[in-house]
C-alpha cells in the first residue's frame, strides 16, 4: 500500500494513509490516494513506456478485477514487473512462478518494447493473466470461485502437457473476450491523437470490437480453440475468422508507440 502525492510540500513523503491524513490536518498540501495494487515495479520498469501503459491499464475496471487478487495488505503473492532479457529470447514477455514465498516475476523483453503501444498493453494483460492463474492455483486460502477454477484448471492439466499449454488453452477458452474488453477500454487512453489517426486510416467507420478480440488472440495460436476457429471457412467476400484476425493483427502492428 502506498500514498501518491499530488502536490508535495514535505521533504520525505508519508508512508501510510494515517500519516498522510495527519499531515493534511497539519496543513500540508497533500492528496492521499491508496494504491490498491501489490504489484511492484523494478527500477528497470519505472518511467518506461510500458510503465505508462501499465498505469493506464490500472484505471480499467477489467484490469482492476484481474489484478484484484494481488491487492491490499497481506496478499499471499506479490507481482514484480521488470524489463530485461527473457529466457526465450524471442518472447515478448514471461511470467515466472518462483515458488510460494517469492513474488511472481513478470519480465518484458527489452528488445520487444518498441512495438505499438496496444501490442505492449496486450503483452502486459497476457502476462497478468498468467500471474493470476498462478495465484489462483497456488493460494492457500482459496475462495469458492477459486475452488471452482481449480476444478476447471485440473481438466486442462489432464488435457495438456506443459504449464504454458495448459494456461494458454484456458486463456483461449475463458479470457479472450475479457482481454479484448480491457484493450478496447485502454486504447484511446494511450494516446488519443494516435487513436484517432489509427481509426481514420484503418477503421474509418469505427474500430470494431473484433479488432480488440483479435489482438487478444495473438499469442494463443496453437491452442485447441484457435485451431477450431482457424478451420472455419467462409465464401468470399465474407471473411473467415482467421482472415479477420490476421488483418487486425497486421493493423495493430502499425499503431502508434506512444503512451502520453
Amino acid at each position: 500500500m502506498g500514498i501518491e502525492e499530488k502536490s508535495r510540500k514535505v521533504k520525505s513523503g508519508p508512508t501510510t494513509l494515517e500519516d498522510c491524513g495527519f499531515l493534511q490536518m497539519m496543513g500540508y498540501d497533500l492528496e492521499c490516494v491508496i494504491d490498491l495494487f501489490e504489484i511492484k515495479k523494478d527500477s528497470t520498469f519505472i518511467g518506461t513506456t510500458a510503465d505508462c501503459i501499465y498505469e493506464k491499464l490500472k484505471s480499467i475496471d477489467g484490469f482492476k478485477d484481474l489484478a484484484s487478487g494481488f491487492e491490499g495488505l497481506g496478499t499471499e503473492f506479490d507481482v514484480i514487473l521488470k524489463i530485461g532479457a527473457t529466457q526465450n529470447a524471442s518472447a515478448n514477455g514471461q511470467a515466472w512462478w518462483r515458488g510460494s514465498n517469492q513474488p511472481i516475476e513478470i519480465t518484458f523483453n527489452e528488445i520487444k518494447m518498441n512495438r505499438s503501444a496496444l501490442e505492449v498493453a496486450r503483452t502486459i494483460v497476457h502476462e497478468m493473466v498468467h500471474a493470476e492463474l498462478y495465484r489462483a492455483i497456488n493460494t492457500t486460502n482459496p475462495t469458492e470461485k477459486e475452488l471452482d477454477f481449480r476444478e476447471t484448471f485440473n481438466t486442462y492439466v489432464m488435457m495438456y502437457r506443459g504449464s504454458a499449454d495448459q494456461q494458454h488453452n484456458l486463456m483461449a477458452d475463458e479470457w479472450v473476450t475479457k482481454m479484448g474488453e480491457i484493450l478496447k477500454d485502454v486504447h484511446q487512453m494511450l494516446d488519443s491523437d494516435g487513436y484517432n489517426t489509427f481509426k481514420n486510416v484503418y477503421y474509418p467507420n469505427g474500430i470494431p470490437d473484433h479488432f480488440y478480440k483479435s489482438v487478444a488472440w495473438d499469442g494463443l495460436q496453437g491452442t485447441i480453440a484457435w485451431n477450431l476457429m482457424k478451420n472455419i471457412t467462409t465464401t468470399p467476400p465474407i471473411k473467415s475468422p482467421l482472415e479477420i484476425i490476421t488483418q487486425d493483427i497486421d493493423n495493430v502492428k502499425r499503431g502508434r508507440k506512444n503512451c502520453l
Binding site: 524471442s90 515478448n92 504454458a164 486510416v201 496453437g222 484457435w226 490476421t246
Partner: protein
C-alpha cells in the same frame, strides 16, 4: 526458359546464398540486406492492404511468426515511409541476398534487430528469377521493408 532450368537457376542462387550469413555491416560500406520473397512458398503469405504490402512467414511452431511490411509514402503513415528502389547486379553483388523461405526463426529475430540500424529490402521472387535474370543491365525492384519476429508471448 523451362521449368527445369528455372529450378536449376534457383538452386544455384540458393547455394550461393547459403554461403552468406546475416551480419551487421560495420565497415561503413552501407551494404544492403535484400530478402527474396517467394509468394508461392507454403510458408509465405503476401497481402496487399490499405496501399501497403504485408508478408507473413510461418514456421513449424504456431506461436512463431515473422512479418515484413512495406508502407509507401502514399499511405501517409505516421512513422513509416518506405522507399522503392531499382537495384542492378552490381548492387546485388555488394548486398547480402537472402532467400526468405530459407531463414529460420532466429535469423528473423536477428533481422528484426538489424532493421533498427540499417535498411532492409525485399525483392519478389518472380522479379528476381525472371528470364532477364542474367541480362547485365536488368534492374530489380527492391521494396524497403520493416521486419518483425514474433515469438511466444
Amino acid at each position: 526458359m523451362t521449368n527445369i532450368s528455372n529450378i536449376l537457376l534457383s538452386l544455384l542462387v540458393s547455394l550461393i546464398s547459403l554461403g552468406s550469413f546475416i551480419s551487421e555491416d560495420c565497415s561503413g560500406n552501407n551494404e544492403k540486406i535484400i530478402l527474396i520473397v517467394n509468394k508461392d512458398s507454403k510458408r509465405i503469405d503476401v497481402y496487399d492492404r490499405n496501399g501497403s504490402t504485408s508478408v507473413w512467414v510461418s514456421f513449424g511452431s504456431p506461436n512463431l511468426r515473422a512479418n515484413l511490411f512495406h508502407i509507401p509514402p502514399e499511405v501517409n503513415h505516421w512513422e513509416y515511409s518506405h522507399e522503392k528502389v531499382e537495384v542492378g547486379h552490381l548492387d546485388l553483388a555488394k548486398s547480402q541476398v537472402l532467400f526468405a523461405e530459407n531463414l529460420d526463426f532466429m535469423d528473423w529475430g536477428d533481422l528484426e534487430q538489424l532493421g533498427k540500424k540499417q535498411k532492409i529490402y525485399m525483392i519478389l521472387y518472380e522479379d528476381y528469377m525472371s528470364k532477364e535474370r542474367f541480362v547485365w543491365n536488368k534492374k530489380f525492384t527492391a521494396y524497403e521493408v520493416w521486419v518483425t519476429a514474433d515469438g511466444p508471448i
